[in-house]
C-alpha cells in the first residue's frame, strides 16, 4: 500500500502548530459560527416580537371596549305619558315607542343640566340630547315594560353616551376631528368635559359588552357580544356532541380493529388530508349539503355546528389514535388473557387509559373550531342578528351569530367605534381560547402517563 505523507505535502498553509493560537482560518470559521447563531437568535426574536406586536395592537385597541361612558340622569317615569290607558298593562304600554322614551330622557337631561347650573353655551336642546345614545331610549323602554311598577317613580338611569362622546374619553375622537365630523362637534365635547367635572358623566366598566346583543351601524356604543357568545356556545355544544363520539368510535375502529389493507390505508390518508383541507372548503360543503340539499335554514347554529363538527372530526381522530397507540399492548394482552372480548378490552381498559389524551385532543379541536370564521361566512352567518336564539333544541334552528363572525361583521362597519368593539371581542375570544388550552395543558400534565 502506498503511503503518501500528507502532513508534509497537503496540510493547510495557515494551520497553526499550537493549540493556543487560533489560525486565521479557524478565526474566520468561528466568526461564521457566531454569525449563524446570531441569525437564529434574530429569527426567534422576530417571531416573538411579531407575537408581542400582535397582542399589544389587539389589547390596546380592544381593552377600552370593556369600559363605556354613561350619563347618569334622574328620570321621572311619568305615568301619564308612558301609560295613557293607566292600567299598568305592558301590552298597552307597548304602544309608546322609543321616540316617546327618547323625549323623556332628553327632557330629564336638560332639566338636570339646568338644575346643576352647567353652562351649555350656545347649544340647542336638540344638540344636548344628541349626546345620549339612541339606544338608551330602547333600554329604558325595555326596563319599564319588564317592570311596570316603576311607573310614576324617579329612577337614576345610566344612559349610554353617544359613541363619539365615548370615543372622546377613549382618545379616539379629538376636538380637531370633531370639528370635521357631522355627527358631533367640539361644543358637545366641551360640554361632556363639564358633565364629567360635575360628576354626571363617567367612563366605567361595562359588562353590557358581554351580555348585550349587536347594535345597528350608528350605535357602536351599544353593541355587545351576548348573542354571539350564546351562538358560539350552541355550536360548540353541537360539535362536542357529534365530533367526540364519532371521532372516538372511528379512532377505536381504525386503531384497534381495522385490518391493515388498502381500504384502511385510504381512510388514513383521507383523514390526514381532511385535517389539512382549507376551512373554507367545509363552508362550501355546508352550503351545498346542509342548506341547498338538506333544506336547513341559513345562518343557524345547527348548520354552523354541523360544519364545524365535520371540520373538527379529523382533528379529534388524529390525537385520539395517537393516545390509543400509546397504551402498551401488555394491557390488551392482560385483558384478553382473562377472557374479555376485544370490544370489552378496548372499552374497559384501553379507552379509559387513553382518555386524557382523547380529551386533550378534543379540547384543542374545539378551540380551533371556536375561532373558525370562513366556513361560517358561507353558511350565511354574517347576517345582522339582534335577537337571542331560543333555548335548545328549537333554538338551534334560530338565526344565530358566533364570536368570530361577529368580529368580522364589526370590521365591515363604517363607524370607527366598531374597530374597538371588534378588538374587544377578540380579547373575549382569546380569553376563551386561553382557558381551553390551559385546561388541555393541565389535563395533559396531570394525567399523562409514560409507559
Amino acid at each position: 500500500m502506498t503511503t503518501l505523507d500528507m502532513t508534509g505535502e497537503n496540510a493547510g498553509t495557515g494551520r497553526s502548530k499550537s493549540l493556543f493560537t487560533a489560525d486565521k482560518r479557524t478565526a474566520a470559521r468561528n466568526a461564521a459560527e457566531r454569525r449563524f447563531r446570531a441569525y437564529g437568535v434574530v429569527a426567534i426574536t422576530l417571531a416573538i416580537l411579531a407575537l408581542v406586536w400582535l397582542l399589544i395592537s389587539i389589547f390596546s385597541t380592544g381593552l377600552p371596549a370593556f369600559k363605556q361612558t354613561f350619563i347618569d340622569i334622574p328620570v321621572t317615569l311619568d305615568a301619564a305619558v308612558l301609560d295613557k290607558a293607566g292600567h299598568g298593562n305592558p301590552d298597552e304600554m307597548a304602544s309608546v315607542s322609543t321616540i316617546g322614551y327618547g323625549k323623556l330622557i332628553a327632557k330629564a337631561l336638560s332639566a338636570e343640566i339646568a338644575a346643576r347650573g352647567i353652562d351649555t353655551g350656545k347649544m340647542k336642546p336638540r344638540d344636548v340630547a344628541e349626546m345620549i345614545s339612541e339606544e338608551s331610549a330602547a333600554t329604558l323602554r325595555n326596563m319599564v315594560l319588564a317592570n311596570p311598577k316603576l311607573l310614576g317613580s324617579t329612577i337614576q338611569f345610566p344612559a349610554l353616551a353617544n359613541g363619539r362622546i365615548d370615543g372622546y374619553f377613549k382618545g379616539r375622537v379629538t376636538m380637531a376631528t370633531a370639528a370635521l365630523d357631522k355627527n358631533t362637534s367640539p361644543e358637545k365635547l366641551a360640554l361632556a368635559d363639564r358633565l364629567v367635572a360635575a360628576g354626571m358623566m363617567q367612563t366605567r366598566l361595562n359588562l353590557g359588552f358581554l351580555t348585550m346583543p349587536d347594535a345597528s351601524d350608528q350605535r357602536p356604543e351599544a353593541a355587545g357580544l351576548g348573542v354571539a357568545i350564546l351562538g358560539s356556545l350552541y355550536m360548540m355544544f353541537i360539535v362536542l356532541v357529534l365530533a367526540l363520539p364519532i371521532g372516538v368510535a372511528a379512532s377505536v375502529y381504525l386503531e384497534e380493529f381495522a385490518p391493515k389493507n388498502r381500504w384502511t390505508d385510504l381512510i388514513e390518508v383521507n383523514i390526514s388530508n381532511l385535517a389539512a383541507v382549507p376551512s373554507i372548503v367545509y363552508g362550501i360543503l355546508g352550503l351545498a349539503i346542509f342548506i341547498n340539499f338538506g333544506g336547513l335554514p341559513r345562518s343557524t347554529a345547527i348548520v354552523g355546528g354541523l360544519v364545524l363538527a365535520l371540520m373538527t372530526l379529523p382533528r379529534i381522530i388524529i390525537p385520539t389514535r395517537a393516545a390509543l397507540k400509546a397504551v402498551p399492548p401488555s394491557i390488551r394482552d392482560a385483558a384478553l388473557g382473562v377472557g374479555a372480548s376485544r370490544l370489552q378490552t378496548v372499552m374497559h381498559h384501553v379507552l379509559p387509559l387513553a382518555m386524557p389524551g382523547v380529551l386533550t385532543g378534543t379540547i384543542i379541536g374545539l378551540a380551533q373550531a371556536l375561532g373558525e370564521t370562513a366556513p361560517l361566512l358561507l353558511i350565511g352567518m354574517v347576517a345582522f342578528v339582534r335577537d337571542f336564539p331560543k333555548a335548545p333544541p328549537m333554538g338551534l334552528l334560530d338565526p344565530a351569530s358566533a364570536l368570530p363572525v361577529q368580529i368580522f361583521n364589526w370590521t365591515q362597519r363604517g363607524d370607527p367605534g366598531f374597530v374597538e368593539r371588534a378588538s374587544g371581542a377578540i380579547i373575549v375570544l382569546l380569553v376563551f381560547l386561553i382557558v381551553m388550552n390551559t385546561a388541555a395543558i393541565i389535563l395533559r400534565r396531570k394525567y399523562e402517563r409514560r409507559w
Binding site: M1, T2, T3, L4, D5, M6, T7, N10, A11, G12, T13, G14, R15, S16, S18, L19, F20, T21, A22, D23, R25, T26, R29, N30
Partner: protein, 264 residues
C-alpha cells in the same frame, strides 16, 4: 487471523497525549475517577474493560467530544504535545482537526463517497484546488484500503456501501484532515468478522503515521492490534502497560479475572 503481536515494534517513546487526574461527571454520576495515562506517538493504544467502565468516556475526553453533552463535566489535565486541551484558549474545532475520531457505528454522511472524504479538507481549507483535493481523496481512500472497491463510483452515495466499507470510508474521512491522533470507539463492533479483519489490518498500517487509540470490548482485538493496553474498571484505570505484559502477566487481580473471563 494474523497475530500482529509477533511483528510488534515500538519505534518511539515520545508522549503524544498525557492525561493527569482526569475526572468526569455526567450530572451526579461520577463516570471516570482519577485517570492518568500517557499515549505514545506512532503507537496503537487499546482501552479495554467491561461495559460502562468509562473507556469510551475517556476516549471522548481526548478530543473534547464530551463538550456536546450538556451534563458532562471534565476535571483534571489532558495535554497534547504539552498543551492543555481544556485551556480556555483552545478552540475545540482546531483540536478535533488534530485528533480525529471514528465511531462505533459507521456514520457516513448522506453524500457521495467523494464528498464524504473531501468534507474535512474542505471545511479546514487544507487544499488549494480541485486537483489537490482529488489527490487527497484518492490517497486517503487508498490508505483506508477502499480505493480499489470504490474508484469507479466515487459519486455514489456513501450510505450505499456495505457495513465494513462504510467504516473504512469513515476512517478515510477521519484521516483526510491529516490528524495527529486517531481515536476509534469500538470501530468493529458493528462489523462482520471479515470486515473486522480488514479494519484491524488497516489500523496496524495507520500506526506508521498516527498515534491510534482504540476502544474495544474484544480482548482478542486489543491483543492483535495494540502495543499498549489500558484496562478500565468501574471508572478507574486499573492497569496500563505493554499489551504483551497485560495479557500474559497482569499485575492487578481485577485485570487477571477480566482477561480470564470472570468479569464481563
Amino acid at each position: 487471523m494474523k497475530d500482529l503481536r509477533l511483528e510488534r515494534d515500538v519505534r518511539t517513546e515520545t508522549n503524544k497525549i498525557e492525561a493527569r487526574g482526569v475526572q468526569v461527571y455526567y450530572g451526579t454520576n461520577h463516570a471516570l475517577k482519577d485517570v492518568d495515562v500517557d499515549i505514545l506517538d506512532k503507537t496503537v493504544t487499546a482501552f479495554i474493560g467491561p461495559s460502562g467502565c468509562g473507556k469510551s468516556t475517556f476516549l471522548r475526553c481526548l478530543n473534547r467530544m464530551n463538550d456536546t453533552v450538556a451534563s458532562a463535566k471534565v476535571q483534571g489535565k489532558i495535554t497534547l504535545e504539552g498543551e492543555d486541551i481544556y485551556d480556555p484558549r483552545v478552540d475545540p474545532v482546531q483540536l478535533r482537526a488534530k485528533i480525529g475520531m471514528v465511531f462505533q457505528k459507521p456514520n457516513p454522511f448522506p453524500k457521495s463517497i467523494y464528498d464524504n472524504v473531501a468534507y474535512g479538507p474542505k471545511i479546514h481549507g487544507l487544499t488549494r484546488n480541485k486537483a489537490e483535493l482529488d489527490e487527497v481523496v484518492e490517497s486517503c481512500l487508498r490508505k483506508a484500503a477502499l480505493w480499489n472497491e470504490v474508484k469507479d463510483r466515487l459519486t455514489a452515495p456513501g450510505t450505499g456501501l456495505s457495513g465494513g466499507q462504510q467504516q473504512r470510508l469513515c476512517i478515510a474521512r477521519a484521516i483526510a484532515t491529516s490528524p495527529e491522533v486517531l481515536l476509534m470507539d469500538e470501530p468493529c463492533s458493528a462489523l462482520d468478522p471479515i470486515a473486522t479483519a480488514q479494519v484491524e489490518e488497516l489500523i496496524d498500517e495507520l500506526r506508521s503515521q498516527f498515534s491510534v487509540v482504540i476502544v474495544t470490548h474484544s480482548m482478542q482485538q486489543a491483543a492483535r492490534v495494540s502495543q499498549k493496553t489500558a484496562f478500565f474498571h468501574l471508572g478507574h484505570l486499573v492497569e496500563y502497560g505493554e499489551t504483551g505484559t497485560i495479557f500474559t502477566n497482569p499485575k492487578d487481580p481485577r485485570t487477571e479475572s477480566y482477561i480470564t473471563g470472570r468479569i464481563g
